[in-house]
Symmetry: C2
Subunit: 426 residues, 2 copies
């Protein structure tokens, strides 16, 4: 099996998780990628700075230039425009594929970088730049490549979604909800980029460019943040069946003069509470896509955080590695995991059982007895009478419907009379 | 620009939409694929049968063998095991890439076919085989390739979700809800494959194999359908905060003897109403993925229907074409669409405006006047008093909060005093 050299630029919240997974999951990643992914170094400004994750000291270097020159895959998680941009260009020149999570750089210069990567026949992936762990760029680029997307609505900033959700659920005003978000680490000490919608605008630009196969400049995004939203606005929205969400909206439309074009805007939006995006709570993200043939699609998940974002970065890295290994068409299916096929004996779950029983003395005890005999422990038992005539109780013609929920266990070794078992709990 | 020959096998509900889009959207598809996708023929059993969509008579043939031999991309939408399997193998032998939506065949023999395609260095894609329009296979195969998926929960059968949703919302019993589904075309005259969970089992098998990088045999799926669910079960679930959904559950777990393995089961499941899958209504599908680093993800959309499924088929076809064109690393970003960048003048939406106004005679009229002067039409206006002291009304110190929703229009050409405009409606 080949070995591919992986250079990591940056070791913050996400970078340190990427390094950890590359080291801890090396074997499994190698099986999937078709090559060993060897972490050759981590470029940081200060090699002695404390890290979230314990990593071998020898991996750290402050010489990013040298590290990049010798890599097959460069993972750029430094953020900011420079030196990230120069290092990515250097990587491409040296024939390395690049994985980046740098939304600021990609929103500013994505198509330019992509052209250079395509010309050099290397990959440039950046799934982590929009909506963290949620696979959204690749589905838009590939799965929806045969459709015409008409609109993309995204909750792509977890900080503002957390703040608005807090205001909606607790009645808090903006300042208090922001403080709560800061206390939990969801908002920065200087929250401007989030609460003014600038972060969402960069992501909206990336989504628009990919969804509409065009180049949308960041400067053309119309952007309004959430700092002006009052508790009264939230309440008024709720009273009328709406919820306020900060959305990035990229839309294909026809201008007054008949020109077909694309607009991108970020602003607080009144969404009907029945809309799937209205159910996106806390710091979660979601992207809602409308396409001519596919109709409505939604992609939901964690939009930030070290581990979720690292998941997206590594998905890109494995995909890039597969392409390098195959020298072309990337193998996307691998079946080499050493996993057994487990049958029902191994399925551990709670069971829900409905029984229609004669409502006679002793029936309940009899049923409870059968459960006990089979070692099945009951968590909840409810009984409903099937009669409107109290007299029928006496003559034994009434039936009782028993609803039983068991504790978690494997499939009941059930005699035939228990086949009415109806639904499980997950 | 090159031309790639596309052969279509089958022309039912999905196939006819695929043919229509290939013909109608030829230019746009060519820009995205980097090659013209020329539909060279449609193989059907009866060339004279009536079709959902009007298509050129000359395209139809009953000689699938000959059609396949000359194609660059073969799209198989015949369903069933044979002759679909033989034709796919023939296509691979001739060096064509294959796109299929045939879940029965892929659940039975997917890894075998995939091996043959990989050996021949051609693509085999089948996004349409699971959850219709929802991009789920590619995200699992590529975006999550660097993570460890621990569980997949899928509402992957629209028929049963519609039936259960009807039972939940209307109190109908199973038989009546099934009749309603049949009347709407959501259920077949013989609904066995859907209501007994067999269709979901095939999809669960495909999801398990891809999610866990292993081969999971269809026969090992533990499967229970929804025919035994009563209106009472649904009611009892609702009373306790649950909803009953038919889920395909693929799970990585450790068996009693310590073996690591995978189980797949399909059965009615009690889901807490707060779970994101609980909000999947009607015939919609959704797949919920739990991964070690990414956490919880959900993919939501239309799981069936001609146009949505055709969207998934064409996404695969364009992706396959890109790989053929590039002879390797597929270009996934294209920016050639003739679309303008539209600014705020073109954004047509309703506006929500909050104004704190002095509660004095004439103020409301004055405000209404300004709206009228600017040609902005008001849809809703609400006023809330900001005082608890009725006397303050007289001295003019009370303020009234006005909440105005405009009709759809472009951005207000607003003088400075209107900058308190706060939220929009989408």
């Amino acid at each position: 099996m080949n070995t591919l050299k992986v250079a990591l630029l940056g070791c913050g919240n996400v970078g340190s998780q990427v390094a950890r997974i590359l080291l801890d999951d090396a074997e499994s990643l190698a099986r999937r990628a078709g090559a060993r992914l060897e972490l050759t170094g981590i470029a940081v400004r200060n090699v002695d700075a404390p890290r979230d994750v314990e990593l071998p000291r020898a991996l750290f270097t402050d010489d990013a230039e040298t590290l990049v020159k010798d890599a097959d895959i460069v993972i750029e998680l430094m953020g900011g425009i420079e030196p990230a941009r120069s290092l990515i260009l250097r990587a491409i020149e040296h024939g390395a594929s690049v994985v980046s999570g740098n939304k600021a750089l990609l929103a500013a210069d994505g198509p330019g970088l992509y052209e250079k990567a395509a010309a050099a026949n290397v990959e440039l992936y950046y799934e982590a730049a929009v909506a963290g762990a949620i696979p959204i760029l690749r589905p838009i680029q590939e799965s929806l490549a045969g459709d015409r997307i008409t609109r993309v609505l995204g909750i792509v900033n977890g900080t503002t979604n957390y703040i608005l959700d807090q205001m909606d659920t607790t009645g808090a005003d903006f300042a208090d909800a922001l403080k709560a978000a800061q206390a939990l680490g969801y908002a920065e000490a200087d929250p401007t980029a989030d609460v003014e919608g600038l972060d969402a605008a960069a992501k909206g630009t990336l989504l628009a460019s990919l969804a509409f196969h065009t180049v949308f400049p960041l400067e053309a995004v119309k952007c309004q943040g959430i700092t002006g939203i009052t508790a009264g606005d939230i309440e008024a929205a709720r009273d009328t069946g709406f919820v306020i969400k900060l959305l990035a909206i990229a839309e294909k439309q026809t201008a007054k003069d008949g020109t077909e074009g694309v607009s991108v805007r970020v602003h607080p939006t009144m969404l009907p509470r029945t809309h799937p995006l209205a159910a996106v709570h806390g710091a979660f993200n979601a992207v809602f896509v409308e396409a001519e043939n596919a109709g409505e699609l939604m992609f939901y998940g964690q939009g930030a955080g070290g581990r979720p974002t690292a998941s997206a970065v590594l998905g890109d890295a494995v995909t890039a590695a597969r392409r390098i290994v195959s020298g072309g068409r990337g193998r996307t299916e691998t079946t080499g995991e050493p996993l057994a096929v487990l049958g029902e004996d191994s399925i551990l779950t709670s069971y829900y059982i409905g029984i229609d029983a004669a409502d006679q003395p002793g029936v309940l005890a009899q049923i409870a007895h059968v459960f006990a005999d089979h070692g099945v422990s009951i968590e909840v038992m409810r009984q409903t009478m099937h009669t409107e005539d109290p007299l029928s109780l006496a003559d034994g013609s009434a039936t009782a419907e028993l609803r039983i929920v068991t504790h978690r266990g494997t499939e009941l070794r059930s005699p035939r009379q228990w086949r009415r078992s109806r639904t499980w709990m997950s």
